[in-house]
């Protein structure tokens, strides 16, 4: 490739992200041409709805209640300022000026026209973005902890492995028509903010006694109608075998996963029906054929991929920042935001900032195009031009100097981005719900807002860390099973009702919530949450988080508060 072209083509990403070479660019160009042709044949009546369906889904295109929905991939959540500006451009020119952050660290647009989609994909390709395999029964976007590479407690940076998996899974010829969708998460941090255990495959990076890098491999986790925590099938998979082992798992699943019933088609059902040990044996048998073959990762490839994710040009800074200390002592609102929305950084003098996209009165995870451009500018000014999307639908600026935090916060305030509720009850995961989605039983966004309005900032802070997740139907896009409090929209004789579960968790101690009892009407939900929180606050030991109090007390006192003695029904209605 001539140097001038190489220069143009490397635009779109920062020098600490994976950057496309001519192969990656060609792959995208070919894909756009292919999808343009498919769309034209569909519009000309040469492809039936049923035949076009998986083709458009594998390009991120759903048909929703009001319009198509296009889901754009943000591989492992990493995004540059240039890419963010392109998303803002697409929101303005092909949508109604906003986008929605998803639990797969992607972004979706709710209003594009079908015929425009090939054009949108071409725009995305200019900044090394796409919508490949963001939907459909194939391997989806690989996700990771949003603090990868900057967390203080990291075993190993997961992003290089995520990129290796991205390439392996992109247009995998054998696994484009799986029984059902397939999600992989890789986690290299101690804390696990990636919900790794509820993925079809969850990979924990670790080091063995010889300091060699490998993975603990879990399979068969997932949410949806039948939530399951993944089971370990390999305690330590040396890193060079990553792809051959994934190939083996996928082949067993492709062959044996159920295709007779959509609701029993995920790998979690296969693992349950087969038994973990028998499933492991099948994978091992397949793996023997592939192990040490061409898919074995070479040290050159591992080095090549790791090299992209090097540290940015950090300054040598003192641990304490006097600018920060002064601001903390003089501005209580800033201090509140600092306390809640910043996290420790591996590099002295830096902080990780999470912009909480959960301000009351705004749909959770929605960003308008002005905010997108504004955040892109802030990322360039304060965080090396990069940001990350979190699976909780927020945005991270990973490398902010402590000296600059006050300036950053003041800037965020000018665009309604200063919400200081990160990790609190009002920082909910929430699906688009019945306002947009044709699958939903209920509208989730108004419920989220009613709950947000119920609690004052001070009350939220007193309650402390508590995850509340809302799904508009049992497909569980809002991860309600793993919220400390989960809310599920259900249909009760044509009316929208909400079922409450307690005790879920998505971290290293992943747990599935249990349903409290009969469901509630929409109007009742804020009261119900208030009562649950009251029980916690009455019983909590000093400093005890909601989830720990719940685990200590069990369901009974919560149930008592919600139903009195009326209900002894443990199951859903």
């Amino acid at each position: 490739m001539p140097p001038a072209l190489a220069c143009i083509r490397s635009q779109g990403r920062t020098k600490t992200m994976y950057r496309y070479d001519q192969y990656d660019h060609q792959m995208l160009a070919d894909r756009i041409a292919q999808f343009r042709d498919q769309t034209q044949r569909f519009l000309a009546g040469q492809l039936s709805d049923a035949e076009f369906l998986p083709l458009r889904l594998q390009n991120g295109l759903y048909v929703q209640r009001l319009a198509p929905m296009l889901r754009v991939a943000i591989p492992y959540g990493m995004l540059s300022s240039t890419q963010m500006r392109k998303l803002a451009f697409i929101a303005d020119h092909f949508d109604k000026g906003y986008g929605h952050l998803t639990t797969r660290q992607n972004i979706q647009f709710n209003w594009p026209a079908l015929a425009d989609v090939p054009e949108i994909l071409a725009h995305l390709a200019e900044v090394e973005m796409h919508a490949i395999q963001t939907s459909g029964n194939c391997i989806r976007n690989t996700t990771t902890d949003q603090f990868a590479g900057v967390a203080v407690d990291e075993v190993e940076d997961a992003r290089a492995y995520c990129e290796i998996i991205r390439q392996w899974s992109t247009f995998h010829p054998e696994f484009a028509f799986l029984p059902r969708k397939f999600k992989i998460a890789v986690c290299g941090t101690q804390q696990d903010q990636a919900a790794t255990q509820v993925h079809d495959i969850g990979l924990y990076l670790l080091k063995n006694e010889n300091n060699e890098i490998g993975f603990r491999v879990l399979v068969g986790g997932g949410l949806g109608r039948t939530p399951v925590i993944g089971s370990e099938i390999k305690a330590f998979l040396p890193q060079e075998h990553l792809l051959s082992y994934l190939d083996a798992i996928l082949r067993v699943y492709n062959r044996e996963g159920r295709r007779d019933n959509k609701y029993k088609a995920r790998i979690k059902i296969l693992v349950k029906e087969t038994g973990t040990s028998a499933f492991r044996d099948k994978v091992e048998k397949e793996w023997q054929l592939l192990k040490d073959g061409p898919l074995t990762l070479t040290s050159a490839e591992l080095e090549r991929c790791r090299a992209f994710f090097h540290d940015p040009d950090y300054k040598a800074l003192p641990a304490q920042s006097s600018a920060l200390e002064t601001a903390l002592n003089t501005d209580v609102l800033f201090a509140a935001w600092y306390e809640q929305n910043t996290s420790a950084h591996k590099k002295t003098g830096y902080a990780i900032v999470t912009i909480c996209v959960k301000k009351t009165g705004f749909a959770p995870g929605d960003l308008d195009s002005d905010q997108m451009r504004f955040i892109a500018d802030l990322a360039e000014r304060y965080s090396f031009g990069e940001m990350r999307i979190t699976h909780t639908q927020n945005l991270v600026l990973a490398d902010v100097e402590k000296n600059e935090l006050y300036n950053l916060w003041q800037a965020l305030k000018t665009r309604d981005l200063e919400a200081d509720n990160l990790g609190l009850l009002s920082d909910m995961i929430c699906c688009p719900g019945g306002d947009f989605c044709s699958l939903a039983n209920a509208k989730s966004i108004p419920v989220a807002e009613a709950i947000q309005r119920r609690f004052s900032a001070q009350h939220l802070r007193e309650i402390g860390q508590l995850s509340l997740n809302i799904s508009g139907c049992m497909n569980a896009c809002g991860h309600h099973h793993v919220g400390n409090i989960g809310i599920l929209g259900v249909d009760k004789k044509g009316e929208e009702y909400f079922q409450i579960s307690l005790g879920g968790s998505a971290d290293h101690n992943a747990a599935l919530g249990k349903i409290v009892g009969p469901s509630f009407s929409q109007d009742e939900v804020p009261d119900v949450i208030d009562k649950i929180v009251n029980v916690y606050q009455q019983h909590k030991a000093p400093g005890e988080k909601f989830i720990n109090t719940y685990n200590r007390l069990g369901m009974e006192p919560f149930k008592e508060a919600l139903y009195g003695n009326k209900s002894d029904d443990h199951t859903t209605d």
């Binding site: 792959m27 392996w168 247009f171 995998h172 010829p173 028509f177 492709n254 062959r255 295709r259």
Partner: protein
């Protein structure tokens, strides 16, 4: 009726007769001078009849049937057909790769059933080398499918090395 078959990147006339799942001895006997593709159940139960035929006999596997069922006979099979009951059924992709990879089968692997233009590229990568298109498919449009992508990340039958070993 002759099948519209793509092989080696071109439309070829084909003489094999595909016999359906309900094939019995009489049907095969009537075809004694024709090359036939029989279902797996027939292949497994009627070896005496098959070995006495003057013409060639091949076998087709449905998507729920696996190549190990015919592992012992692959050296005498000129052709194995893999059926797509519907195009969304991804199992035959794995069967084709297993035939090539695990069993080192070098004869023809033919895609039959719901074989559509937009799946041909992946089929070829997995080791299919003959494609009996569904009747309504446009041949010229279908032939262009093999050029959908210039390269690929993964190793497969058409390219045994992953891109990371070549880039």
């Amino acid at each position: 009726m002759t099948t519209r078959l793509i092989k080696n990147g071109t439309l070829v006339s084909d003489t094999w007769v595909l016999l359906g799942a309900a094939t019995d001895r009489d049907a095969v006997a009537m075809m004694h001078d024709r090359d036939v593709i029989v279902p797996l159940s027939f292949w497994l139960s009627e070896q005496d009849l098959i070995s006495s035929r003057p013409s060639r006999t091949a076998v087709w596997l449905n998507s729920n049937e696996t190549p190990d069922a015919i592992a012992g006979s692959l050296d005498k099979l000129a052709l194995v057909a893999l059926n797509f009951p519907e195009f969304k059924d991804g199992r035959p992709y794995s069967s084709a790769r297993e035939l090539r990879q695990r069993f080192a089968y070098s004869g023809e692997i033919r895609a039959i059933g719901d074989v559509l233009r937009d799946q041909l590229f992946f089929m070829r990568r997995c080791g299919f080398d003959a494609f009996a298109l569904r009747d309504d498919q446009d041949i010229d449009i279908a032939l262009s499918a093999f050029n959908d992508f210039t390269d690929a990340y993964q190793p497969a039958i058409d390219q045994p090395l992953p891109l990371f070993r070549r880039r």
